[in-house]
Symmetry: C2
Subunit: 174 residues, 2 copies
DNA sequence: AACCGATGTTTTGCTAATAAAACAACTGAT
DNA sequence: ATCAGTTGTTTTATTAGCAAAACATCGGTT
Protein backbone atom coordinates (compact mmCIF):
# COMPACT_ATOMS: atom_id res chain seq x y z
CA UNK A 1 0.00 0.00 0.00
CA UNK A 2 3.12 2.16 -0.02
CA UNK A 3 2.14 3.81 3.28
CA UNK A 4 1.84 7.05 1.39
CA UNK A 5 -0.82 8.22 3.79
CA UNK A 6 1.56 8.18 6.70
CA UNK A 7 4.85 9.72 5.81
CA UNK A 8 3.62 13.27 5.42
CA UNK A 9 2.43 13.41 9.03
CA UNK A 10 6.05 14.13 9.80
CA UNK A 11 5.82 17.78 8.92
CA UNK A 12 2.38 18.14 10.40
CA UNK A 13 4.14 18.20 13.74
CA UNK A 14 3.21 21.43 15.42
CA UNK A 15 6.44 21.46 17.42
CA UNK A 16 9.50 21.45 15.20
CA UNK A 17 12.90 20.38 16.37
CA UNK A 18 13.98 24.01 16.39
CA UNK A 19 10.97 25.19 18.37
CA UNK A 20 11.41 22.37 20.86
CA UNK A 21 14.94 23.50 21.59
CA UNK A 22 14.15 27.17 21.77
CA UNK A 23 11.54 26.37 24.39
CA UNK A 24 13.67 23.98 26.40
CA UNK A 25 16.56 26.46 26.24
CA UNK A 26 14.39 29.05 27.95
CA UNK A 27 13.42 26.48 30.56
CA UNK A 28 16.99 25.51 31.30
CA UNK A 29 18.20 29.09 31.33
CA UNK A 30 15.55 29.97 33.89
CA UNK A 31 16.89 27.17 36.04
CA UNK A 32 20.56 27.93 35.50
CA UNK A 33 20.62 31.72 35.42
CA UNK A 34 17.20 32.64 36.72
CA UNK A 35 16.41 34.50 33.53
CA UNK A 36 16.44 34.11 29.75
CA UNK A 37 16.92 36.77 27.13
CA UNK A 38 17.16 36.49 23.36
CA UNK A 39 20.94 36.53 23.54
CA UNK A 40 21.02 33.82 26.19
CA UNK A 41 18.88 31.56 24.06
CA UNK A 42 21.05 32.28 21.02
CA UNK A 43 24.18 31.45 22.97
CA UNK A 44 22.69 28.27 24.39
CA UNK A 45 21.66 27.04 20.95
CA UNK A 46 24.75 28.41 19.23
CA UNK A 47 22.83 30.39 16.65
CA UNK A 48 22.93 34.11 15.95
CA UNK A 49 20.85 36.58 17.94
CA UNK A 50 19.06 37.53 14.77
CA UNK A 51 17.88 33.98 14.17
CA UNK A 52 16.81 33.54 17.77
CA UNK A 53 15.03 36.88 17.68
CA UNK A 54 12.94 35.84 14.70
CA UNK A 55 12.04 32.41 16.02
CA UNK A 56 11.20 33.76 19.46
CA UNK A 57 9.05 36.48 17.94
CA UNK A 58 6.99 33.73 16.31
CA UNK A 59 6.78 31.85 19.60
CA UNK A 60 5.57 34.98 21.37
CA UNK A 61 2.93 35.34 18.67
CA UNK A 62 1.90 31.72 19.28
CA UNK A 63 1.56 32.45 22.97
CA UNK A 64 4.21 29.95 24.05
CA UNK A 65 6.71 32.57 25.23
CA UNK A 66 6.03 35.71 27.23
CA UNK A 67 8.10 38.87 27.34
CA UNK A 68 8.95 41.02 30.30
CA UNK A 69 8.70 44.80 30.27
CA UNK A 70 12.48 44.58 29.96
CA UNK A 71 12.70 42.00 27.17
CA UNK A 72 13.14 39.12 29.59
CA UNK A 73 11.59 35.92 28.32
CA UNK A 74 9.44 33.41 30.16
CA UNK A 75 7.47 30.33 29.21
CA UNK A 76 3.71 30.65 29.21
CA UNK A 77 1.62 27.89 30.79
CA UNK A 78 1.16 26.36 27.34
CA UNK A 79 4.87 26.61 26.69
CA UNK A 80 5.68 24.93 29.98
CA UNK A 81 3.31 22.07 29.22
CA UNK A 82 5.08 21.47 25.94
CA UNK A 83 8.52 21.63 27.51
CA UNK A 84 7.49 19.23 30.25
CA UNK A 85 6.24 16.67 27.76
CA UNK A 86 9.37 17.03 25.63
CA UNK A 87 11.73 16.66 28.56
CA UNK A 88 9.80 13.67 29.84
CA UNK A 89 10.04 11.92 26.48
CA UNK A 90 13.70 12.77 26.14
CA UNK A 91 14.46 11.45 29.62
CA UNK A 92 12.59 8.20 29.06
CA UNK A 93 14.20 7.54 25.70
CA UNK A 94 17.65 8.38 27.01
CA UNK A 95 17.15 6.10 30.00
CA UNK A 96 15.99 3.26 27.78
CA UNK A 97 18.82 3.60 25.31
CA UNK A 98 21.51 4.01 27.94
CA UNK A 99 20.41 1.85 30.86
CA UNK A 100 18.59 -0.92 29.02
CA UNK A 101 20.14 -1.12 25.57
CA UNK A 102 23.51 -0.13 27.06
CA UNK A 103 24.34 2.46 24.45
CA UNK A 104 26.94 4.94 25.57
CA UNK A 105 25.65 8.16 27.08
CA UNK A 106 26.53 10.38 24.17
CA UNK A 107 24.77 8.18 21.64
CA UNK A 108 21.75 7.91 23.92
CA UNK A 109 21.67 11.68 24.34
CA UNK A 110 21.94 12.35 20.62
CA UNK A 111 19.27 9.86 19.60
CA UNK A 112 16.92 10.94 22.37
CA UNK A 113 17.36 14.54 21.27
CA UNK A 114 16.53 13.69 17.68
CA UNK A 115 13.44 11.77 18.62
CA UNK A 116 11.98 13.51 21.64
CA UNK A 117 9.61 15.93 19.92
CA UNK A 118 8.43 13.38 17.38
CA UNK A 119 7.01 10.74 19.68
CA UNK A 120 3.30 10.80 20.23
CA UNK A 121 1.98 11.25 23.74
CA UNK A 122 0.74 7.66 23.66
CA UNK A 123 4.14 6.32 22.76
CA UNK A 124 5.80 8.43 25.42
CA UNK A 125 3.40 7.23 28.06
CA UNK A 126 3.68 3.56 27.18
CA UNK A 127 7.43 3.78 26.99
CA UNK A 128 7.51 5.35 30.42
CA UNK A 129 5.44 2.48 31.83
CA UNK A 130 7.68 -0.04 30.15
CA UNK A 131 10.99 1.44 31.24
CA UNK A 132 9.75 2.01 34.74
CA UNK A 133 8.74 -1.60 35.16
CA UNK A 134 11.81 -2.88 33.37
CA UNK A 135 14.14 -1.00 35.72
CA UNK A 136 12.12 -1.66 38.85
CA UNK A 137 13.15 -4.21 41.46
CA UNK A 138 10.52 -6.65 40.28
CA UNK A 139 12.34 -10.01 40.24
CA UNK A 140 10.99 -10.97 36.83
CA UNK A 141 12.21 -7.73 35.33
CA UNK A 142 15.57 -8.17 37.05
CA UNK A 143 15.98 -11.65 35.72
CA UNK A 144 14.93 -10.68 32.24
CA UNK A 145 17.43 -7.84 32.06
CA UNK A 146 20.22 -9.98 33.48
CA UNK A 147 19.58 -12.59 30.84
CA UNK A 148 19.39 -10.05 28.06
CA UNK A 149 22.63 -8.40 29.07
CA UNK A 150 24.42 -11.67 29.40
CA UNK A 151 23.34 -12.60 25.89
CA UNK A 152 24.55 -9.22 24.73
CA UNK A 153 27.97 -9.91 26.19
CA UNK A 154 28.51 -13.34 24.71
CA UNK A 155 26.47 -12.92 21.59
CA UNK A 156 28.52 -15.43 19.68
CA UNK A 157 26.58 -18.13 21.51
CA UNK A 158 23.30 -16.60 20.47
CA UNK A 159 21.62 -17.21 17.16
CA UNK A 160 20.69 -13.75 15.90
CA UNK A 161 17.61 -13.38 13.73
CA UNK A 162 19.67 -12.03 10.88
CA UNK A 163 23.05 -13.16 9.73
CA UNK A 164 24.83 -9.86 9.89
CA UNK A 165 23.26 -7.21 12.03
CA UNK A 166 26.16 -4.86 11.57
CA UNK A 167 25.80 -4.83 7.83
CA UNK A 168 22.03 -4.55 8.05
CA UNK A 169 22.34 -1.31 9.99
CA UNK A 170 25.30 0.00 8.03
CA UNK A 171 27.64 -0.17 10.99
CA UNK A 172 30.51 -0.33 8.56
CA UNK A 173 29.35 2.35 6.17
CA UNK A 174 32.17 4.86 6.03
CA UNK B 1 25.69 22.15 30.50
CA UNK B 2 22.69 22.87 28.28
CA UNK B 3 23.62 20.07 25.89
CA UNK B 4 24.19 22.69 23.26
CA UNK B 5 26.76 20.50 21.61
CA UNK B 6 24.21 17.85 20.82
CA UNK B 7 21.08 19.32 19.40
CA UNK B 8 22.54 20.51 16.14
CA UNK B 9 23.57 16.99 15.15
CA UNK B 10 19.98 16.65 14.06
CA UNK B 11 20.48 18.47 10.80
CA UNK B 12 23.85 16.89 10.25
CA UNK B 13 21.92 13.81 9.27
CA UNK B 14 22.90 12.97 5.76
CA UNK B 15 19.60 11.24 5.08
CA UNK B 16 16.64 13.55 5.53
CA UNK B 17 13.11 12.36 6.04
CA UNK B 18 12.29 13.36 2.48
CA UNK B 19 15.28 11.59 1.00
CA UNK B 20 14.55 8.46 3.04
CA UNK B 21 11.08 8.26 1.56
CA UNK B 22 12.13 8.99 -1.99
CA UNK B 23 14.59 6.10 -1.74
CA UNK B 24 12.19 3.67 -0.09
CA UNK B 25 9.51 4.61 -2.62
CA UNK B 26 11.80 3.52 -5.43
CA UNK B 27 12.49 0.29 -3.59
CA UNK B 28 8.82 -0.49 -3.05
CA UNK B 29 7.88 0.47 -6.59
CA UNK B 30 10.50 -1.90 -7.93
CA UNK B 31 8.87 -4.64 -5.89
CA UNK B 32 5.29 -3.73 -6.71
CA UNK B 33 5.52 -2.66 -10.35
CA UNK B 34 8.95 -3.86 -11.35
CA UNK B 35 10.00 -0.35 -12.27
CA UNK B 36 10.07 3.20 -10.91
CA UNK B 37 9.88 6.44 -12.81
CA UNK B 38 9.76 10.03 -11.55
CA UNK B 39 5.99 10.07 -11.89
CA UNK B 40 5.62 6.82 -9.99
CA UNK B 41 7.65 8.16 -7.11
CA UNK B 42 5.66 11.39 -7.14
CA UNK B 43 2.40 9.47 -7.06
CA UNK B 44 3.59 7.20 -4.26
CA UNK B 45 4.66 10.15 -2.11
CA UNK B 46 1.74 12.32 -3.17
CA UNK B 47 3.89 15.21 -4.30
CA UNK B 48 4.10 16.86 -7.70
CA UNK B 49 6.30 15.47 -10.44
CA UNK B 50 8.26 18.69 -10.41
CA UNK B 51 9.23 18.28 -6.77
CA UNK B 52 10.10 14.63 -7.24
CA UNK B 53 12.13 15.48 -10.32
CA UNK B 54 14.27 17.96 -8.40
CA UNK B 55 14.85 15.73 -5.40
CA UNK B 56 15.66 12.73 -7.57
CA UNK B 57 18.05 14.78 -9.65
CA UNK B 58 19.97 15.52 -6.45
CA UNK B 59 19.92 11.85 -5.49
CA UNK B 60 21.28 10.89 -8.90
CA UNK B 61 24.04 13.44 -8.38
CA UNK B 62 24.78 11.85 -5.00
CA UNK B 63 25.03 8.47 -6.64
CA UNK B 64 22.17 6.92 -4.68
CA UNK B 65 19.82 6.62 -7.66
CA UNK B 66 20.65 5.47 -11.17
CA UNK B 67 18.81 6.29 -14.36
CA UNK B 68 18.03 4.02 -17.26
CA UNK B 69 18.55 5.04 -20.87
CA UNK B 70 14.78 5.47 -20.82
CA UNK B 71 14.45 7.52 -17.61
CA UNK B 72 13.73 4.47 -15.50
CA UNK B 73 15.08 4.78 -11.98
CA UNK B 74 16.96 2.24 -9.93
CA UNK B 75 18.74 2.25 -6.59
CA UNK B 76 22.51 2.11 -6.68
CA UNK B 77 24.33 -0.24 -4.32
CA UNK B 78 24.81 2.65 -1.90
CA UNK B 79 21.16 3.55 -2.20
CA UNK B 80 20.08 0.00 -1.50
CA UNK B 81 22.28 -0.17 1.61
CA UNK B 82 20.60 2.95 2.94
CA UNK B 83 17.12 1.69 2.17
CA UNK B 84 17.86 -1.64 3.82
CA UNK B 85 19.00 0.02 7.02
CA UNK B 86 16.01 2.36 7.05
CA UNK B 87 13.50 -0.42 6.50
CA UNK B 88 15.16 -2.55 9.16
CA UNK B 89 14.96 0.25 11.71
CA UNK B 90 11.37 1.02 10.80
CA UNK B 91 10.38 -2.62 11.14
CA UNK B 92 12.05 -3.01 14.52
CA UNK B 93 10.57 0.17 15.93
CA UNK B 94 7.12 -0.67 14.62
CA UNK B 95 7.32 -4.15 16.08
CA UNK B 96 8.40 -2.79 19.44
CA UNK B 97 5.72 -0.14 19.60
CA UNK B 98 2.96 -2.41 18.40
CA UNK B 99 3.76 -5.84 19.81
CA UNK B 100 5.49 -4.86 23.03
CA UNK B 101 4.10 -1.48 24.03
CA UNK B 102 0.73 -2.47 22.53
CA UNK B 103 0.20 0.77 20.65
CA UNK B 104 -2.29 0.47 17.82
CA UNK B 105 -0.87 -0.26 14.41
CA UNK B 106 -1.45 3.17 12.95
CA UNK B 107 0.27 4.93 15.82
CA UNK B 108 3.15 2.49 15.65
CA UNK B 109 3.46 3.02 11.91
CA UNK B 110 3.43 6.80 12.20
CA UNK B 111 5.98 6.99 14.99
CA UNK B 112 8.24 4.43 13.35
CA UNK B 113 8.08 6.43 10.14
CA UNK B 114 9.03 9.63 11.91
CA UNK B 115 11.94 8.03 13.69
CA UNK B 116 13.38 5.46 11.32
CA UNK B 117 15.97 7.56 9.54
CA UNK B 118 17.11 9.32 12.72
CA UNK B 119 18.24 6.32 14.72
CA UNK B 120 21.92 5.56 14.71
CA UNK B 121 23.09 2.21 13.46
CA UNK B 122 24.10 1.30 17.00
CA UNK B 123 20.67 2.06 18.37
CA UNK B 124 19.01 0.13 15.57
CA UNK B 125 21.19 -2.87 16.18
CA UNK B 126 20.73 -2.94 19.93
CA UNK B 127 17.01 -2.44 19.59
CA UNK B 128 16.86 -5.37 17.20
CA UNK B 129 18.67 -7.58 19.70
CA UNK B 130 16.36 -6.44 22.46
CA UNK B 131 13.09 -6.91 20.59
CA UNK B 132 14.18 -10.23 19.21
CA UNK B 133 14.96 -11.61 22.66
CA UNK B 134 11.90 -10.00 24.19
CA UNK B 135 9.59 -11.65 21.66
CA UNK B 136 11.42 -14.97 21.62
CA UNK B 137 10.10 -18.07 23.36
CA UNK B 138 12.62 -17.71 26.15
CA UNK B 139 10.58 -18.39 29.31
CA UNK B 140 12.02 -15.41 31.17
CA UNK B 141 11.08 -13.07 28.36
CA UNK B 142 7.64 -14.64 28.17
CA UNK B 143 7.07 -14.19 31.86
CA UNK B 144 8.35 -10.64 31.85
CA UNK B 145 6.05 -9.61 29.01
CA UNK B 146 3.07 -11.32 30.59
CA UNK B 147 3.66 -9.47 33.81
CA UNK B 148 4.15 -6.15 32.07
CA UNK B 149 0.97 -6.52 30.06
CA UNK B 150 -1.04 -7.54 33.06
CA UNK B 151 0.17 -4.46 34.89
CA UNK B 152 -0.77 -2.39 31.86
CA UNK B 153 -4.30 -3.76 32.01
CA UNK B 154 -4.97 -3.15 35.66
CA UNK B 155 -2.73 -0.18 36.14
CA UNK B 156 -4.77 1.13 39.05
CA UNK B 157 -3.06 -1.46 41.21
CA UNK B 158 0.33 -0.26 40.10
CA UNK B 159 2.15 2.66 41.60
CA UNK B 160 3.25 4.74 38.63
CA UNK B 161 6.41 6.78 38.91
CA UNK B 162 4.53 9.98 38.26
CA UNK B 163 1.12 10.95 39.44
CA UNK B 164 -0.43 11.81 36.14
CA UNK B 165 1.25 10.30 33.13
CA UNK B 166 -1.47 11.51 30.80
CA UNK B 167 -0.95 15.11 31.75
CA UNK B 168 2.81 14.75 31.64
CA UNK B 169 2.63 13.71 28.02
CA UNK B 170 -0.08 16.14 27.04
CA UNK B 171 -2.57 13.41 26.30
CA UNK B 172 -5.36 15.94 26.72
CA UNK B 173 -3.86 18.74 24.68
CA UNK B 174 -5.99 18.81 21.57
C1' DA C 1 -1.19 14.17 -40.11
C1' DA C 2 -3.46 15.90 -36.02
C1' DC C 3 -4.60 15.25 -31.50
C1' DC C 4 -4.54 13.65 -26.71
C1' DG C 5 -2.61 11.95 -22.60
C1' DA C 6 1.24 10.81 -19.88
C1' DT C 7 5.75 11.99 -18.71
C1' DG C 8 9.91 14.79 -17.37
C1' DT C 9 11.96 19.32 -16.65
C1' DT C 10 12.32 24.12 -15.54
C1' DT C 11 10.90 28.32 -13.55
C1' DT C 12 8.69 30.89 -10.06
C1' DG C 13 7.09 31.30 -5.48
C1' DC C 14 6.35 29.83 -0.76
C1' DT C 15 7.77 28.58 4.24
C1' DA C 16 10.99 27.31 7.95
C1' DA C 17 15.33 27.91 9.74
C1' DT C 18 19.46 29.53 9.54
C1' DA C 19 23.78 33.22 8.79
C1' DA C 20 25.58 37.70 8.11
C1' DA C 21 25.59 42.38 8.40
C1' DA C 22 23.81 46.77 9.47
C1' DC C 23 21.53 49.42 12.79
C1' DA C 24 19.66 51.34 17.20
C1' DA C 25 19.51 51.41 22.16
C1' DC C 26 21.23 50.71 26.53
C1' DT C 27 25.17 50.01 30.06
C1' DG C 28 29.35 50.76 32.22
C1' DA C 29 34.07 52.39 32.58
C1' DT C 30 37.16 55.85 32.07
C1' DA D 1 30.80 63.00 28.15
C1' DT D 2 32.74 59.73 25.38
C1' DC D 3 33.80 55.24 24.02
C1' DA D 4 33.29 50.31 24.08
C1' DG D 5 30.63 46.32 24.70
C1' DT D 6 26.21 44.08 24.95
C1' DT D 7 21.75 43.59 23.46
C1' DG D 8 17.69 43.32 20.32
C1' DT D 9 15.89 43.99 15.69
C1' DT D 10 15.69 44.21 10.77
C1' DT D 11 17.18 43.26 6.22
C1' DT D 12 19.30 40.34 2.87
C1' DA D 13 20.65 35.82 1.46
C1' DT D 14 20.83 30.75 1.59
C1' DT D 15 19.10 25.94 1.77
C1' DA D 16 15.60 22.16 1.84
C1' DG D 17 11.29 20.91 0.46
C1' DC D 18 7.29 21.58 -1.44
C1' DA D 19 3.34 23.56 -5.16
C1' DA D 20 1.93 25.46 -9.40
C1' DA D 21 2.38 26.45 -13.94
C1' DA D 22 4.56 26.50 -18.28
C1' DC D 23 7.00 23.87 -21.48
C1' DA D 24 8.78 20.01 -24.24
C1' DT D 25 8.64 15.19 -25.52
C1' DC D 26 6.98 10.88 -26.53
C1' DG D 27 3.34 7.33 -27.74
C1' DG D 28 -0.69 5.83 -29.30
C1' DT D 29 -5.58 6.97 -31.62
C1' DT D 30 -8.24 8.47 -34.79
Amino acid sequence: MMASDVWKEYESNEISHSVAHHLTAIHELMGDLGYARVSDVARALEITRGSASLTLKALKARGLVLEDHNKFLKLSDDGRLIVDSILAKRAVVRKFLNEVLKLDEHQAEVDACKVEHLLSAQTGGQLLHFVYFLLSDDPTARQFLAEFWSKLDQNEEWQWPVQDVDQLFNLESR
